[in-house]
Symmetry: C2
Subunit: 251 residues, 2 copies
């Protein structure tokens, strides 16, 4: 399937849901069996356990013990529900750190990474047209405040922000991708690569790939950790180098 799309529908309705604008009390009419919060919570639970692909309207309704179509009374559609899910888990970040601007940016990256770890389906949510809710906005404010304290010019802050934001979400997503695939297919990344040993035996050509061969012979791939360990250290390394570059560009 292609990536889950959100951000559709009527902006006013979606924003009201994201910010939980309390509709004026309606003392008249049948009592609701479920609330928006319950729907979002149930949807997150399903996606956490079985992935975003398994998060169907029918599945969520079943989880709550109501009919499928009942959900549409509270939520305009699946796209908007995904918006609500994403903003909700982004609110789980605890962004109240002190320290230098670098420490704060790294804290932000760490907390965001934790969200992806806890909710691997975030990999499948596009962030180019993000849910403009409190979860996203609080995060933006936090990073921008940190970058603004770095001494960069205002215009540079916004450019650096896009780069940092892109790196953090991208790295967290690809790190989590492995786990998500492991859960979905029942095969770990290490085992997947192991099963592709045939490739090195039957297809790899040392003459076509001299640089890779040289690195291999130099022991560059003799790592002790698992695939997940390596992806974790690459995340930290890449962010460090990016911040080094941003810092260096200020001089």
């Amino acid at each position: 399937m292609a990536a889950e799309r959100s951000g559709g529908g009527d902006p006013a309705r979606t924003l009201a849901l994201l910010w939980r604008t309390p509709a004026e009390p309606k003392p008249v009419g049948r009592k609701p069996k479920v609330s928006v919060d319950q729907i979002v919570t149930a949807a997150i639970a399903v996606a956490d356990r079985e992935g975003l692909g398994a998060m169907s309207m029918a599945r969520v309704a079943q989880e709550l013990g109501v009919g499928t179509m009942s959900l549409y009374t509270h939520v305009p559609g699946k796209g908007e529900l995904i918006d609500l899910m994403a903003d909700t888990v982004l609110q789980e970040r605890d962004l109240a750190a002190e320290g230098t601007w670098r420490e704060r940016v790294k804290h932000y990256a760490d907390r965001t990474r934790a969200v992806y770890q806890a909710h691997p389906w975030m990999r499948d949510v596009s962030m180019v047209r993000p849910p403009l809710g409190p979860g996203l906005m609080d995060g933006q404010e936090f990073v921008l405040a940190a970058l603004a304290d770095s001494g960069l010019e205002p215009r540079q802050v916004t450019v650096a922000h896009v780069a940092v934001e892109g790196f953090v979400h991208g790295a967290a997503a690809s790190e989590v991708d492995d786990q998500q695939l492991a859960a979905a297919t029942g095969e770990s990344g290490d085992s997947w690569w192991g099963a592709r040993q045939v490739f090195w035996d039957d297809y790899f050509d040392v003459e076509r790939y001299p640089a890779m061969t040289a690195l291999w012979n130099a022991g560059a791939y003799d790592t002790e950790g698992t695939l997940a360990d390596n992806m974790r250290s690459s995340f930290d390394y890449g962010l460090d180098k990016l911040l080094d570059g941003i810092e260096g560009g200020m001089r």
Copy 2:
């Protein structure tokens, strides 16, 4: 839908397809109406036009004027077809550049970016368990050769490689995400943001978001270009800073 998954199935069969290992000629039996190449080409054409979500087996078969099930004679399943599509478009990169190691890495980033631009559905293809075909491998060889010339220690080359590869694919993906959404929904990114003007009017709180407000007042968001232009310069900026950091770390 969640991200399209590939890399499943029997490794030996998939590798044989990726490297087009010619099965021994079969002069006996009914003549095939379609070839693997035709199927892959048709699938890419559909995905280019209508996105990976529209690339169904039925749709591809229709494109070729054959029955849906005929495809399964030549390709094990949809996952493997996506593997073949991805490796095929990665082969479109022309990676024969001269220059310093930095110039070559930037050339690689530029060519990879071009692939995503031409085939936006690549955003939806996971690269954590990549198709081990010539398209992917030639790219890896090219970057590793460049990084190995930078003077980094072998072990450091592999770490930097993961960071660069992650950045390039991540940035190209999010850049293209916007265009893909524009094509799928018929609404451009600029127009989408315009429709969310309500947010700034009704929900944005200057006291809750002082850093954003200050940047706004400083004119940091007074850009003349389109959203696409800004994403493009962020791509270049981020890669530059990342390479600065890698270079600086060698000292």
